[in-house]
C-alpha cells in the first residue's frame, strides 16, 4: 500500500465542538452501504503529539479496523493550537474475499488544555460494551494523562541510546514508568511483541534435548543493540532470567542480536534475511517468523504477561543490564 486508502465517508471541520462531532459520528454510521446490524469488538484511542506521529499512526491503522472493527479515536495534541478544535469523522472499510468490514474513525486535533481533560472528549465517543485500548505511539504517557475508561495501554517506549542526553528518557526510568502504569491497567508493549520472534526461536532451539543439555552451565548473556535500546533491554532481561544467567550486557551492533555465551559454545539469535529470525548453536537451528501487524496482535492480548512484567521489573531495578 503506497497511498493511504480514502475513507468511504467523511465529515470534517476546522473549528468545531464535541456536540457537532458526536452528531456527525451518529449520522455517518447511518449513511452509505451500512447494514443495520454490525459487529464491533474494540474502541481504540490513539494519542499523538506530532503530525509525523499522526501520519505514522494513520498508516498503522489503515487495515487495523478490518481485524478489530469498532471505533478508532485519534487525538492529535498540538500545544500551540489553543482552544480551537478541528475534527474529522470517517467511515472506513476493508475488503477481503468480496466482503467488507466497516469501522469508524474520529480524529480530533486539540490543544494542550483539551489534552489535560481528555476524558471529556473521549468518553462520549466510546462505543458501549467494548474493550477500550489506548495506543501512545510517541512514547510512554504519564499515568494521570490516560483517560479513566482505558483498560489496555499499548506503548512503544522511545529511549535514546545510552548515554542519554539530559532531558531524554532512559531505560531504567522507562521501566519504572511502565511498572507504575501496569499497576492500574493492562500494558501491552509493542517492543515486547517485536522481540517475540527472538524469544520464540530461542525457545524452539532448546526444545531439542541435545541443546537443552547445554543449559545449566554458567552462562553469559549479551545483547547487541542497533537503534532503540528498549527492545534490546527487554530481550536481555528476559533471556538472562529464562536461562538462569547473571546480568546481561548490551553492546552496539548493526542489528538486534542475542548471544548466549556457554563457554565452548555460543548461541546466536538474529534476523536471517528471509523474513525470519534464526537461533543457532552447534549446528542446531531453530527459526521463528517475524511477526505480522504488531498493533493487530496487541489488540488480541487481553491478559497480563507475567514474563514481560518480570523483565520490566528487573530493568527497573537496575539488575538487568551492565
Amino acid at each position: 500500500m503506497t497511498v493511504l486508502p480514502a475513507p468511504a465517508l467523511e465529515w470534517a471541520s476546522g473549528a468545531t465542538t464535541m456536540t457537532e462531532v458526536l452528531a456527525a459520528a451518529d449520522r455517518l454510521r447511518l449513511e452509505g452501504d451500512r447494514t443495520a446490524a454490525r459487529a464491533t469488538v474494540v474502541n481504540l484511542l490513539v494519542v499523538t503529539r506530532s503530525p509525523e506521529a499522526t501520519t505514522a499512526a494513520e498508516w498503522a491503522l489503515a487495515d487495523m479496523g478490518g481485524h478489530h472493527p469498532g471505533r478508532v479515536i485519534l487525538v492529535e495534541v498540538d500545544p500551540g493550537r489553543g482552544d480551537t478544535m478541528a475534527a474529522e469523522v470517517q467511515v472506513r472499510r476493508a475488503e477481503a474475499d468480496g466482503h467488507c468490514v466497516w469501522w469508524d474513525t474520529v480524529c480530533l486535533h486539540v490543544g494542550q488544555r483539551a489534552a489535560d481533560h481528555l476524558d471529556a472528549f473521549v468518553e462520549p465517543l466510546l462505543l458501549h460494551d467494548l474493550h477500550v485500548a489506548a495506543w501512545y505511539p510517541d512514547g510512554v504517557p504519564e499515568a494521570a494523562a490516560v483517560p479513566a475508561a482505558v483498560e489496555q495501554l499499548i506503548v512503544e517506549p522511545r529511549v535514546a541510546p545510552a548515554p542519554p542526553p539530559p532531558g531524554t528518557g532512559d531505560v531504567r526510568g522507562t521501566a519504572a514508568a511502565l511498572t507504575e502504569l501496569a499497576r492500574h491497567r493492562l500494558v501491552t508493549d509493542l517492543a515486547w511483541l517485536r522481540v517475540l520472534p527472538w524469544r520464540s526461536a530461542l525457545a524452539r532451539l532448546f526444545d531439542d534435548q541435545g541443546t537443552a543439555a547445554l543449559l545449566g552451565r554458567p552462562l553469559e548473556v549479551r545483547v547487541r543493540v542497533a537503534g532503540e535500546p528498549w527492545p534490546a533491554a527487554l530481550l536481555a532481561s528476559w533471556a538472562a532470567a529464562a536461562v538462569g544467567a547473571g546480568h546481561p550486557s548490551l553492546a552496539p551492533a548493526e542489528h538486534l542480536r542475542l548471544e548466549l555465551d556457554l563457554g565452548q559454545d555460543q548461541v546466536v539469535v538474529e534476523k536471517s534475511g528471509d523474513g525470519r529470525v534464526t537461533a543457532r548453536v552447534r549446528g542446531a537451528v531453530a527459526t521463528a517468523s517475524l511477526g505480522g501487524d504488531l498493533l493487530v496482535a496487541a489488540l488480541e492480548r487481553h491478559q497480563r504477561d507475567r514474563a514481560y512484567e518480570e523483565a520490566v521489573a528487573r530493568v527497573a531495578a537496575g539488575a538487568a543490564l551492565t
Binding site: 465542538t17 464535541m18 456536540t19 462531532v21 458526536l22 451518529d26 454510521r29 447511518l30 451500512r34 447494514t35 443495520a36 446490524a37 454490525r38 459487529a39 464491533t40 469488538v41 481485524h67 478544535m85 483539551a114 481533560h117 476524558d119 471529556a120 472528549f121 468518553e123 462520549p124 466510546l126 462505543l127 458501549h128 460494551d129 467494548l130 474493550h131 477500550v132 479513566a148 475508561a149 488480541e300 487481553h302 491478559q303
Partner: protein, 504 residues
C-alpha cells in the same frame, strides 16, 4: 362519528390510524413544551394524513395572542411545515387568559362551541395540560365547573396530564382527587413520553414475539439488571424548577419506574391497555419498600461540581442560574432495588440517573450469569464478559447483544463481541417521535402507553421512603465532577457485590 366499516369503499382497506375530528385544547400553548414537542408532533401527524380535516387546536395561555399569531407560531414550530399542516393550522384558535379565572373558561367554552359548529369537531375534546404542575388541579377543576369535562352524547372528553404527578405520595393523591373531581379515571391520560419511544415499546416485542428470550428472562439466567438514564446537559435555565424536584422526582419516580415495569413484568394475556397496565402494577407492587435504615446503604445521591463535559468546561450545579449556593438538591441518584417475586427474587436491579454525566444515554441492560464452567484455558478467555442484552432507548435506538466469539486465527482465544441492531439503520422509516405516537393514542382513545393512577401510586410508594430518609438527613450528598459517571460511592454500591456499572 362515521366508522370505517360504514364506508363500503373502505372495506378491506388498512388505512392505519387516524384521529377523529377532535378539538385539542392545549393549556400552556405559548410554552416551551408546546413549541418544541407538541406542535412539531402534530405537524408530522398531519403530514402523514393521520389528522382528520376537522382537527383543530385551541391554544390557551396567559400570553396575549391573536388567532393569527397562534397560527403563525404553529407553522414556525413545525420543522418543515408541509401543505397539510399549513391547511390544518388555518382553523386553529387561541384563548388568552389566566387559568385561575372563570372568564378564561367561559371564553374557552364559547370558542369550542364555535369550533364544533365551524369545523365539525362534534364535541370531541382532548385537553392537554402543558402547564406548570401547580395548574393541573385548578385547570381540571375549572373544566369540570364549566361542564367541559363531561362529554356530550356520542362524543368524548379526555385529559392529558404531563409529569410530574405530584411531589410525593400525599400530593400525588391530592392531585388525583382534584382530577377525579372533574374526570373519570378512564378519561385521564397521564403521559410519560418515554413510553412513546419505539425502543421502549420494543421491549414488549422483544420479550413476547420471540421464543428464545422469555425462557431466560428470569432469575435463573439473569445476574442483574441495570437501568441508566444519563444526561450530559446541566439544568440550564431550569434551575429554579429543578431545585424543587431533583433527580429522584424528575426521573426515577416516572421514567425509570415505567422502564422497569415494562422490562420486568409478567407476560400479559393481551397487549392492550388493561393487560399491560395490570402487569406493570403487579411488578411495581413487588418492589420492596426500603426502611429508613436501608436507604443509606442502598441509595447514593450526588450533585455535580464544575468539570468538563463533551469537550467543554461547565459550571457546577450550585453556580447555575436559579440554584441556591448551598443547594442540597440531588442531580444524581443511584440505587439498588429488590423485586420480590418468583421471577426476580435475588436479582438486584441497579438504577442510576444524573445530569452532567459524560454522555446522553438511556438504556436498560440485562446481564446474564457467567457460564458455570469454561472449558477453555483461562488464559484464552480471561477477558470474556458475561452475556448482556441491552435495549438502548436513546440515542441510536436499538438492541445490542454481547456474546463470546473466537478470535480469528490459528489459536483458540475467545473474546466478547457486540452485535448491534440499530433502528436508524435497519429501516428507511425514521422511528416516530414519542409525542407523535402518544398524541395520536390520546385522540383515538388508546390508553395502553399512558399511566394509570395505581401505577403512579406504586411508583410513589417506592420512592417516598427515600424522600423521607433524605429529609431526615440520613443520606449524605456526594459531589461529583461534571463529566464523570457520578460519585465514587455509586460504584461501591455494586462493587460490594462483585459487580460494576456498565459503560453505556
Amino acid at each position: 362519528m362515521a366508522e370505517a366499516t360504514d364506508n363500503p369503499v373502505a372495506a378491506g382497506l388498512d388505512r392505519g390510524r387516524q384521529a377523529p375530528p377532535v378539538a385539542l385544547v392545549v393549556f400552556g400553548a405559548s410554552g416551551d413544551l408546546t413549541h418544541r414537542k407538541l406542535l412539531p408532533a402534530l405537524a408530522e401527524l398531519a403530514r402523514r394524513h393521520q389528522l382528520g380535516d376537522a382537527f383543530t387546536v385551541v391554544g390557551v395561555a396567559r400570553s396575549d395572542m391573536s388567532d393569527d399569531s397562534f397560527r403563525q407560531l404553529a407553522v414556525e414550530a413545525a420543522h418543515e411545515a408541509g401543505p397539510e399542516w399549513e391547511q390544518a393550522v388555518k382553523g386553529f384558535r387561541y384563548v388568552t387568559g389566566d387559568y385561575g379565572e372563570a372568564a378564561t373558561f367561559d371564553r374557552l367554552a364559547q370558542v369550542l362551541g364555535e369550533v364544533d359548529s365551524e369545523r365539525g369537531t362534534g364535541g370531541y375534546r382532548v385537553y392537554y395540560l402543558a402547564t406548570i404542575p401547580d395548574q393541573f388541579g385548578p385547570v381540571a377543576g375549572h373544566l369540570g365547573e364549566h361542564g367541559l369535562s363531561r362529554p356530550a352524547e356520542g362524543s368524548f372528553c379526555r385529559l392529558v396530564v404531563e409529569k410530574p404527578f405530584g411531589r410525593d405520595l400525599d400530593s400525588s393523591a391530592a392531585l388525583d382527587a382534584q382530577l377525579h373531581a372533574a374526570f373519570d379515571e378512564d378519561q385521564i391520560y397521564r403521559i410519560d413520553h418515554y413510553l412513546g419511544k419505539e425502543t421502549v415499546q420494543n421491549v414488549l416485542a422483544l420479550r413476547f414475539a420471540n421464543a428464545i428470550f422469555e425462557p431466560v428472562w428470569n432469575r435463573r439466567y439473569v445476574d442483574s439488571v441495570q437501568v441508566t438514564v444519563a444526561e450530559s446537559l446541566g439544568v440550564g435555565h431550569r434551575g429554579g424548577f429543578y431545585e424543587t424536584a431533583g433527580a429522584l422526582r424528575d426521573i426515577v419516580q416516572n421514567h425509570v419506574m415505567q422502564i422497569l415495569g415494562l422490562t420486568l413484568l409478567e407476560p400479559p394475556a393481551t397487549v392492550d391497555a388493561q393487560g399491560i397496565r395490570d402487569e406493570k402494577v403487579k411488578v411495581l407492587r413487588a418492589v420492596e419498600v426500603m426502611t429508613p435504615d436501608e436507604v443509606p446503604n442502598a441509595v447514593v445521591r450526588g450533585q455535580y461540581d464544575r468539570g468538563w463535559v463533551e469537550g467543554e468546561e461547565v459550571p457546577g450545579y450550585r453556580e447555575e442560574e436559579g440554584v441556591a449556593p448551598d443547594s442540597q438538591t440531588e442531580t444524581f441518584v443511584a440505587m439498588r432495588l429488590v423485586v420480590d417475586n418468583w421471577r426476580w427474587a435475588g436479582v438486584p436491579v441497579y438504577v442510576r440517573t444524573g445530569k452532567r454525566l459524560p454522555k446522553r444515554v438511556t438504556e436498560v441492560a440485562m446481564t446474564f450469569h457467567r457460564v458455570p464452567h469454561l472449558p477453555f484455558a483461562s488464559s484464552l478467555s480471561r477477558d470474556l464478559a458475561p452475556n448482556a442484552l441491552v435495549v438502548r432507548v436513546q440515542p441510536d435506538e436499538g438492541v445490542t447483544f454481547c456474546f463470546g466469539a473466537k478470535v480469528p486465527g490459528p489459536g483458540f482465544k475467545v473474546r466478547t463481541v457486540s452485535m448491534d441492531f440499530s433502528y436508524g439503520a435497519a429501516f428507511l422509516e425514521n422511528p416516530p417521535d414519542s409525542y407523535e405516537r402518544l398524541l395520536l393514542d390520546a385522540m383515538v382513545g388508546d390508553p395502553t402507553l399512558f399511566i394509570r393512577t395505581d401505577e403512579v401510586e406504586q411508583s410513589w410508594r417506592i420512592v417516598q421512603p427515600i424522600l423521607e430518609a433524605w429529609g431526615d438527613g440520613a443520606t449524605p450528598l456526594h459531589r461529583y465532577a461534571a463529566g464523570s459517571w457520578g460519585p465514587r460511592e455509586s460504584h461501591r454500591l455494586l462493587e460490594a457485590a462483585g459487580r460494576r456499572w456498565r459503560r453505556p
